[in-house]
């Protein structure tokens, strides 16, 4: 006998619903800090003159770095720093207790630079379920679109597994 689906109509209703936009800043200090954390020794992330000599208009953001959300203690998530209520996966209501980070997918449409101010919006792109070794899993893919002056510079997709 087939088990009842984990996916409810209420969950399906949130698919595709865009969040309110939020602002992220990319600056020299945060680029150097990020590059240092990933272990880069490449001067292009630290030395502005060097970056310009390689054809970049400012320090480029290292791969994966899409800015830091402007922090506001009244409205930001204390653990993850982003604005509360914009995490699309949190809009999918369920009773599963445990959570895993399932994956990350970033697609670039342009280079991100120090000095950029990005605007992001997010949505649940897909919800699916699967039987795995850890039991029944609810798989939520969220999609965040980053824009600079209205132009899309990157789309990040994240997979959250609840089980």
């Amino acid at each position: 006998m087939a088990e009842e689906s984990l996916i409810t109509d209420e969950m399906r209703a949130v698919i595709g619903v865009e969040s309110e936009p939020w602002t992220l800043e990319v600056d020299k200090t945060s680029i150097r800090m990020f590059a240092r954390a990933v272990g880069y020794t490449d001067p292009v992330f630290y030395d502005e003159a060097f970056a310009r000599s390689k054809g970049f208009r400012a320090l480029p953001a290292p791969p994966h770095y899409l800015g830091t959300p402007v922090f506001n203690p009244a409205t930001s998530d204390p653990t993850f720093g982003g604005p509360r209520g914009t995490n699309p996966a949190a809009r999918v209501r369920h009773n599963l207790k445990r959570v895993l980070n399932g994956g990350t997918d970033i697609e670039y449409f342009d280079t991100v630079y120090a000095g950029d101010v990005l605007t992001a919006t997010s949505k649940v792109a897909d919800i699916s379920e699967r039987q795995g070794s850890i039991g029944r899993m609810l798989i939520t893919v969220s999609e965040t679109t980053y824009r600079r002056d209205g132009q899309v510079v990157a789309i990040a997709r994240g997979t959250i597994i609840n089980y």
Binding site: V38, D42, F50, P63, H64, Y65, T79, F80, I106, T159
Partner: protein, 147 residues
Amino acid sequence: MTAATEPQQLYFEDVQEGQQIELRVTPTTQQLVQWAAASGDFYQIHYDKDFAISTGLPGVIVHGALKHALLGRMLWEWIRYAGRIKRWAVSYRGMDVPGQEMICRGRVTGKRVQDGQYLVDLEIWTENPQGQRTTPGTATVILPSRG
């Protein structure tokens, strides 16, 4: 600051299907703290051993996103300044722990020209000392052409 031995620019014509790249790293707890600050992810399983154990983990674990970023570093250091990463996607299949070597690897699976862009596709992954692929995925990079 100067680059001691600056690598040559990689061109589309230099790349062969089956070609392999790698970046060997051993994340430390210090690096996990640096990553927490740089990424803004202060989830305690990545720096507080007691907290991590209380959630059933063996100890602190490497952030999934850091592994994605390290695979991005492997690609960046390969394609050089005139190349661009178009897309890279991974699944977090296994945990990696600090103090243990993690080898980031890539293998070229194809080359193509699309919309005037010279594209190289790769399979990418991180590998633990047991040889398990803890973070498998795919990537596409854009390279300059000598053509």
